[in-house]
């Protein structure tokens, strides 16, 4: 008769590597759909045209090239910070598919994050193709035009932007995941995210450059999580001016708040979970 040791013989690096590779393979199966989603998230490129015209008018403190670069950076940041876990979680709760995940000795949240990373890796080549096409059509974005400087934010800024980008993803993820917990009480929760999307869209810098917002309101906004989800990492990429320390501290603080809220609601929700549909 075979008996097993109760302790796992496999460490976290391998667990995460396997989970990521499988979830990447899973998302790669949906590559055509994900390519369409990359196209469908081109609002920043559309808004770029509007704000480029506004910049030309002299009413706002940015040039056409600066607007081009900012919204290209926004488009890129958006591709790697899209979070859809609330739709997935709602499906898992309503269909009873959460139950098998709860029986695994690993928090489902870890798998959901890796699922998103798999989706991002699938999406990035398509996003890169869209950016490449834009650069081909508007080379001044890269070169700076006749009298401008080439777009090179510097290695330090690129590294900071990468960190900010991942932190922005985690911030968005935990914000939405905390909202997901409502599914333990009210199964249909995806609509709640639609409400949350409004402030995200208007206050994050996704469609309105931060510089176009009145300064007093801007100061208030900097205490909220929204500007750090898009504007902060995008501005780092275009070598703009950001409150670096305050920015990272605020991001971590909000991410921690949402993480703690999710953990609290998770424990409450599991007591309420009825494993329906099974």
């Amino acid at each position: 008769m075979t008996q097993l040791p109760s302790q796992p013989a496999v460490g976290w690096p391998r667990k995460l590597r396997v989970l990521f590779s499988v979830h990447y393979a899973e998302m790669f199966e949906y590559r055509a759909e994900i390519a369409l989603w990359a196209v469908a998230t081109m609002q920043p490129l559309i808004m770029m045209g509007v704000w480029a015209q506004a910049g030309e008018s002299g009413l706002f403190p940015f040039s056409q090239v600066e607007v081009f670069r900012y919204f290209i950076a926004v488009f890129l940041i958006r591709q790697v910070t899209i979070v859809w876990t609330i739709h997935h979680f709602e499906f898992l709760i309503v269909s009873g598919r959460l139950s098998p995940l709860l029986l695994h000795p690993i928090d489902p949240c870890i798998r959901f994050i890796l699922l998103h990373l798999g989706e991002q890796w699938t999406r990035l080549p398509f996003a890169a193709a869209i950016i490449g096409l834009f650069m081909y059509l508007y080379p001044q974005t890269l070169t700076g035009g006749a009298d401008g400087a080439a777009w090179w934010p510097g290695i330090g800024n690129i590294l900071l932007a990468v960190v900010a980008c991942h932190t922005a993803f985690l911030l968005r993820f935990f914000m939405q995941y905390a909202l997901c917990m409502a599914a333990f009480w009210h199964e249909r929760v995806a609509a709640m995210d639609a409400v949350l999307f409004l402030p995200y869209m208007f206050l994050s810098g996704l469609i309105i450059p931060f510089e176009a917002i009145p300064e007093t309101f801007r100061e208030v906004l900097l205490w909220t999580p929204f500007p750090y989800m898009v504007w902060f990492p995008a501005t780092l990429l275009v070598h703009g001016e950001v409150p670096l320390l305050r920015g990272f501290l605020t991001m971590f603080a909000w991410a921690t708040v949402f993480f703690i809220l999710y953990r609290y609601l998770w424990h409450k929700g599991l007591k309420h979970y009825s494993a329906m549909g099974a």
């Binding site: 008769m1 075979t2 008996q3 097993l4 040791p5 109760s6 302790q7 796992p8 013989a9 496999v10 391998r14 667990k15 396997v18 989970l19 499988v22 393979a25 899973e26 199966e29 949906y30 009873g96 598919r97 139950s99 098998p100 995940l101 709860l102 029986l103 695994h104 000795p105 690993i106 599991l270 007591k271 979970y273 009825s274 494993a275 549909g277 099974a278």
Partner: protein, 359 residues
């Protein structure tokens, strides 16, 4: 209440029961909605809730290595009980201990030792081959690569599955998917298996393969198994002991053979006459189950068996007569059709009591 005992410690405590359920109850609040516009509006303004007691004061235990059948009609509370045993839902009252631990605390140490297979709920990733889901399970349960490969080969051989592991799950038949589900559920060699309808929807060959596989797994690993199934063939092939619940309450806990003694106070008499059997004539002796030409099947109360057989032999031209217990499916069906554990349809007199049996 004592603290949780690490599952591994059970290896040194062979006397401890694998599963201990004590006065377990679960009540759900369900909102009732009347049909029509008025019903919709009143449901919104003043919602009425009804309390449904899905499981009522159920107690039983399972020994290490034991295979126990868990029987009950639809809605009896079987799946709810299994969900509480695996920690998916919290009980309203009572206690559950699995390998000495409280399941709903969801300690990884316990989760690595148990599994739950629900016939309709796949853990396979739908658009990838089963081999990918098996990789995930091997990683999350901490099974090293080479050991995982060995176990996959072993399980695949026991379940007669091979090429299917590299085809997308969505392209597999129901039986093939169920076999893969079993592989995924058992890859970490759990010591306690909770199986909810593991053969549901499978063809006869696949059912047999799954039964043989479970028997072999139990023999090799000494695992305890609690199995629900609507197919009595699963229960009779695998379980020496059954636990029956009805309307949330436990009505029987004992040997499979004991069900007939307890719930069927009658025996089946098959009689073959020299001439065609007549229903009205046969009815004079006992309840007629069926008549087919010269053969008749009668249900005779145990206490009247000798007298009835004597009368048949004396009054009819009998060419053959056999006395057997009625089929177990029929006995269980009659108990469940009765509508209440206190009032089964079998005319059993005082043989059935309303109190849960300790078995």
């Amino acid at each position: 209440m004592t603290g949780d005992i690490p599952a591994a410690a059970l290896l040194e405590s062979p006397t401890m029961k694998t599963v201990e359920v004590d006065s377990l109850s679960k009540t759900f609040a369900v909102a009732d909605k009347q049909p029509g516009l008025a019903g919709t509006l009143s449901h919104f303004v003043k919602r009425k809730y009804r309390m449904i007691q899905a499981v009522k004061d159920v107690s039983f235990s399972i020994e290490p290595g034991e295979i126990v059948g868990f029987l009950g009609p639809n809605g009896a509370g079987k799946t709810t009980t299994l969900k509480m045993l695996t920690g998916l839902i919290h009980p309203t009252a009572g206690q559950v201990r699995v390998l000495g631990q409280t399941p709903f605390k969801r300690k990884p140490d316990l989760l690595r030792q148990i599994t739950l297979v629900m016939g309709q709920k796949q853990q396979m990733i739908w658009d990838l081959p089963p081999s990918e889901s098996l990789r995930v399970n091997a990683a999350v349960y901490g099974v090293p690569d080479n050991e995982a490969k060995r176990r996959i080969d072993e399980l695949a051989e026991m379940l007669s599955i091979g090429d299917e592991l590299t085809r997308p799950v969505r392209k597999l038949s129901l039986g093939e998917r169920m076999k893969c589900e079993l592989m995924a559920a058992l890859l970490h060699h759990p010591r306690v298996l909770f199986l909810d309808e593991p053969t549901l929807g499978l063809d006869v060959n696949a059912q047999t393969a799954v039964r043989n596989f479970l028997r072999e797994y139990n023999r090799q690993h000494g695992a305890s198994i609690l199995l629900t199934s609507h197919y009595m063939a699963d229960i009779t092939a695998l379980c020496d002991r059954v636990v029956m619940i009805h309307k949330g309450g436990l009505i029987y806990d004992g040997s499979l053979a004991g069900i007939v003694d307890r719930f069927a106070p009658f025996r089946e008499v098959k009689v073959e006459l020299a001439n065609d059997a007549d229903h009205d004539t046969m009815k004079r002796y006992a309840e007629v189950e069926s008549i087919d030409g010269r053969a008749a099947r009668l249900l005779v109360k145990r206490d009247a068996l000798t007298k009835t057989v004597d009368r048949l032999l004396a009054e009819q031209d009998v060419t053959d007569l056999t006395v057997t217990d009625p089929p177990i499916e029929e006995v269980i069906g009659r108990v469940f059709d009765g509508g209440s554990p206190d009032n089964p349809s079998v005319d059993s007199g005082s043989d059935i009591d309303a109190e849960p049996s300790a078995g």
